[in-house]
């Protein structure tokens, strides 16, 4: 026994050394929920490109500064842009465009004007209706605003360039340049826009803290200088920071309450410190081993796995407390004897729980597999620590018998087994059935990612305000276009744009933004040039000039026989945002993003994407929702499978009837817990399903302990179960008070399930009824 304990010490020591070494090297905690997706599906290049696009979109930040005084608003905008720029935390800061930027935009397009047609013009020319383009030009020339002078008429006779420029689908419908600054006028207020890209990962706490500190201090300074100043912001980083802040606050509060509660509980019951640190030791060893093994096996740990894995490992407290409470009573015996007494019960508990956890491995999801490994390793390590170390570290003296506490702990048993309470029992079961039925009627399933996290209301209001003022479209969906080179990518986008335009007319989406809308492919420019030449210039130009009295013919000065490419868009251009749509352009091929907004029928967009080669529809929020749905379904199926797999072990020890009796409490808890949570308005989610995996294991533990309890030690067993339940509620049940919906759902389901598992546990123990 001592040798085994030493060997275990050696193993734990090595594991700790590995962990320290790995942490020293820097452990990468994966945070991307899509990393939990089935890795085999899709090619890695596509996933990389999608990740890149999603990250780039998440980095966008828009801030509006508004004041009744135009000068004050502009001062604030300039100061914010300056703070962004100087901080080094943002790039592509856009506030004041260079004074000649609009002229420069015209100059960029001008040499290529005979190959730049609006969609409408192209349709007219393709259908021999060039005369309507001529009529439009004449109406403009003769119109009251006198746009054209003779020089213009000779350079661009049919005014194609102005039409193309007005037709550009600029993304901020209500924003215009006012002396170089993007501005919106709304009532008395002048709003100016500052746009930027955050440097780094916006979901990294370090990046968030630095950026938000910089933003908040600049905003505070400005508000002090300009009393009426209004600031509205949009950006994933603002939401992520607020979410992290509230999560950290909540977690530390819950952790403190849970820690203090557990310590007080153990001190109150045992009036000794040793049980406390023995418990902590067992769980710490479990988490340590689980973490190291996961690092060794997977090279990293997903943060979701870590969170739930620690919870699942924490169940080891059940075995710990069974051993520790065995110290109660004058006949408790030596530590070795105590262990011998509880060993069958806790071994069965561990085996059933391990079956439950390892069943998660059956799902083809990397996340669930990692979770299964983490919790199985953790649980095993904790169990070995209880069995091998605790008797050696424990004190030999029995604990003072506390008759009051033991009697109280035994009350539940009395309730279930004593004839006097028969009516009460029937009443209680009827109540459970009724409440459960009522809860099931109200049970809903909700996997939508957007409902799993609470968005800060004030930030959401600001976002709506920015959208209203600027006409900026919302939505996280996009299409990824991959091709051999930029030209082919543009051609694919043009194919796509026709389909998207049709889909917009049927309401499948609200709008889109693509590079090809601003720079047509060379192929299209060539075709348009031919159309302009054949359908416009050749049939109509002479008559048109004669009619207007233009002498000397066309002067196509500065017409470039080459073609416009996206490379012509510079960083200071009003079209600089188009550059963000281009992810890659190199020997490995080109990747471009088509932004979508107001998507109402994702399936139609999937169909459109499937129809054009190299195009993929990406719906980050929808994908995570799909992952959660799939994980929830699998978790529920695996829950049933694991219960079935546990049965042979139980049947081997308890026989057919006994195993069914042992199954009853955990099964009742698992079935009723979601119904009770539903009464509290909690929808069933993946997080609830994981809580049920825990409830099943906890329920089996309690049931097995009760079944194994010799009549004389029954009260001690019940005390151990009761303490285990309270400790579980203190550590995880408190999560039910979280404001993060996912955590709230997890905690509430676990709270209900653990209490139910505890209440029903004595039903498993019929060995003692005769005594």
């Amino acid at each position: 026994m001592k040798q085994a304990a030493l060997a275990w010490l050696l193993i734990v020591g090595c594991t700790a050394a590995i962990l320290v070494f790995r942490i020293h090297q820097g452990v990468a905690l994966q945070t991307d929920l899509t990393a939990l997706l089935v890795q085999e599906s899709g090619d890695p290049g596509l996933r990389r490109a999608q990740d890149l696009a999603a990250a780039s979109l998440a980095q966008r930040v828009f801030v509006l500064a508004g004041d009744d005084d135009r000068a004050a608003a502009r001062k604030a905008g300039a100061a914010l842009a300056d703070a962004f720029e100087r901080s080094g935390l943002a790039q592509a800061v856009t506030y004041r465009l260079p004074p000649d930027s609009v002229t420069a935009l015209g100059a960029m397009y001008f040499p290529y004007r005979f190959g730049l047609l609006t969609g409408e013009e192209r349709e007219l020319l393709r259908h021999n209706q060039g005369s309507r383009v001529v009529a439009r030009a004449l109406a403009t020339v003769y119109g009251p605003e006198a746009i054209a002078d003779a020089a213009m008429l000779r350079r661009d006779p049919f005014l194609l360039l102005p039409a193309f420029l007005t037709g550009l689908p600029l993304p901020l419908a209500h924003v215009a340049l006012d002396d170089g600054v993007l501005t919106v006028h709304d009532g008395a207020k002048t709003w100016v826009l500052v746009a930027a890209q955050v440097q780094g990962n916006v979901y990294s706490l370090a990046v968030q803290n630095r950026f938000i500190a910089m933003f908040d201090s600049s905003a505070a300074t400005l508000r002090a200088q300009i009393p009426g100043l209004a600031i509205a912001r949009v950006g994933a980083i603002f939401y992520a920071h607020r979410g992290a802040q509230s999560a950290v606050g909540e977690t530390s509060l819950i952790a403190t309450v849970s820690m203090v509660g557990t310590i007080v509980l153990i001190l109150l019951v045992f009036r000794a410190l040793r049980p406390l640190w023995l418990t902590l030791l067992a769980i710490a060893v479990g988490v340590l081993c689980a973490f190291s093994v996961c690092l060794l096996m997977y090279g990293g740990v997903h943060v979701v796995v870590l969170l739930f894995g620690v919870s699942l490992t924490g169940i080891a407290i059940d075995y710990c407390l069974q051993y520790i409470t065995a110290r109660f009573g004058p006949e408790a015996g030596s530590p070795r004897e105590r262990l011998r007494r509880v060993l069958p019960g806790i071994t069965l508990g561990v085996v059933t729980t391990l079956i439950g956890y390892l069943t998660l491995m059956l799902a083809p999801f990397p996340g669930l597999r990692q979770l299964a490994v983490f919790s199985a390793v953790g649980l095993t390590a904790s169990f070995l620590t209880v069995v091998l170390w605790l008797p050696l570290l424990d004190s030999a003296a029995p604990l003072e018998d506390s008759a009051g506490i033991l009697a109280a702990a035994n009350l539940l048993w009395v309730f279930w087994k004593d004839g006097r309470y028969r009516r009460w029992r029937i009443g209680f079961i009827a109540l459970c059935v009724l409440t459960g039925g009522f809860g099931f009627a109200r049970l809903t399933v909700d996997d939508d990612l957007r409902h799993q996290q609470a968005l800060a209301a004030d930030l959401h209001d600001e976002e709506l305000e920015v959208r209203r003022l600027t006409g900026m479209a919302g939505g996280t969906e996009f299409l990824l276009v991959q091709a051999a080179d930029t030209e082919s990518a543009l051609q694919r986008e043009e194919d796509l744009l026709e389909r998207l335009t049709a889909a917009r007319q049927t309401g499948a989406l609200g709008g889109f933004q693509a590079v090809a809308q601003f720079v047509p492919s060379i192929k299209r420019q060539r075709e348009d040039r031919a159309l302009v030449h054949d359908q416009l210039m050749r049939p109509f130009l002479d008559e048109y000039y004669r009619r207007l009295g233009v002498v000397g013919g066309m002067r196509p000065d500065a017409v470039d026989n080459g073609f416009l490419t996206p490379a012509a868009i510079g960083a200071g251009s009003p079209l600089a945002f188009v550059r963000n749509l281009m992810l890659a352009d190199g020997p490995a091929g080109a990747a471009q993003v088509v932004l979508l907004n107001g998507v109402t029928r994702p399936d139609e967009l999937r169909r459109i994407a499937a129809a054009v080669p190299g195009v993929h529809f990406a719906d980050p929020a929808g994908e995570v929702t799909a992952v959660l749905t799939e994980y929830r379904r699998r978790a529920v199926i695996l829950l049933a499978v694991s219960a079935v797999l546990m049965m042979p072990v139980l049947m081997w020890r308890y026989g057919w009837r006994g195993s069914l009796a042992t199954l009853l409490p955990p099964a009742a808890a698992v079935v009723l817990a979601p119904a009770l949570a539903a009464l509290k308005g909690v929808a069933f989610t993946f997080f609830g399903a994981i809580a049920l995996v825990l409830v099943l294991s906890i329920g089996f533990d309690y049931a097995v302990f009760c079944r194994e309890a010799a009549p004389a030690r029954r009260a001690v067993t019940m005390l151990g179960v009761c303490l285990a339940m309270i400790a579980t509620l203190l550590s995880f049940g408190l999560l039910g008070f979280s404001r993060t919906y996912a955590v709230h759902a997890f905690g509430t389901t676990l709270l209900a399930g653990t209490i139910l598992a505890f209440i029903f546990a004595p039903l498993a123990g019929d060995r003692g009824t005769s005594a």
């Binding site: 009529a135 109406a139 003769y142 119109g143 009251p144 605003e145 006198a146 746009i147 215009a176 009295g549």
Partner: protein
């Protein structure tokens, strides 16, 4: 855009005028709620063209709502200017649209014009020097951009309006040497509601 600007200038000229002290005295303000109807002839003198471009048609001016400018000769087209922007319709097809949000300078000029129509010259005077001569029966108003370095001055040299009880002519002189002469005829002020087609044109709020 330049087009829009010029149009607004033309309209300003068409409706504004008067010298510092006298502009209020000679200016034929339009009462809010009334509508001005009339015909126009427009001649554009573009350097490099053999002959001026001549246009005829009719117009409707409704304070605080907008202007409808209908060309009948030599091409038929309708131009509608409101606070929301400018639209042009040829053969019942909308062929052009310029939203105010996208053309703040245009929107600004329309606002100046709309206020001048009802006799409020204060906004106009922020951008133009206004000189006025003559009396109510024969007056002449000259507008010149105040800031010679402004984008406005880069396009426009001066606007000259003449009139009696009404505005009779507007001459716009451009910085590039081109000029435009507009004459207004058969003007009628009415307080009856707009005819349905006109009201419909001015009501269109689409962007």
């Amino acid at each position: 855009m330049r087009a829009a600007l010029t149009l607004v200038c033309a309209a300003i000229v068409a409706l504004a005028s008067a010298s510092h002290a006298d502009v209020a005295a000679v200016w034929p303000s339009l009462a809010p709620g009334s509508t001005l109807y009339g015909r126009f002839t427009q001649e554009q003198y573009l350097k490099g063209l053999t002959a001026p471009l001549k246009t005829e048609g009719d117009f409707v001016v409704v304070p605080a709502r907008g202007i409808i400018w209908r060309s009948a000769q030599p091409v038929r087209s309708v131009t509608v200017i409101t606070a929301a922007g400018m639209r042009r319709i040829v053969d019942d097809n909308e062929v052009q649209r310029l939203a105010s949000a996208k053309a703040p300078a245009f929107a600004h000029m329309y606002e100046l014009l709309d206020r001048a129509i009802v006799g409020d010259w204060s906004a106009l005077r922020q951008d133009f020097a206004v000189t006025c001569s003559g009396d109510r029966n024969a007056w002449r108003v000259i507008l010149t951009p105040l800031d010679s370095a402004s984008p406005l001055a880069a396009r426009l040299t001066s606007v000259v309006l003449t009139g009696d009880g009404r505005i009779d002519t507007v001459d716009i002189n451009r910085a590039n040497g081109d000029s435009e002469h507009v004459a207004f005829l058969n003007q009628v002020v009415s307080s009856t509601p707009l005819a349905e087609p006109d009201a419909h044109l001015l009501n269109d709020k689409r962007e």
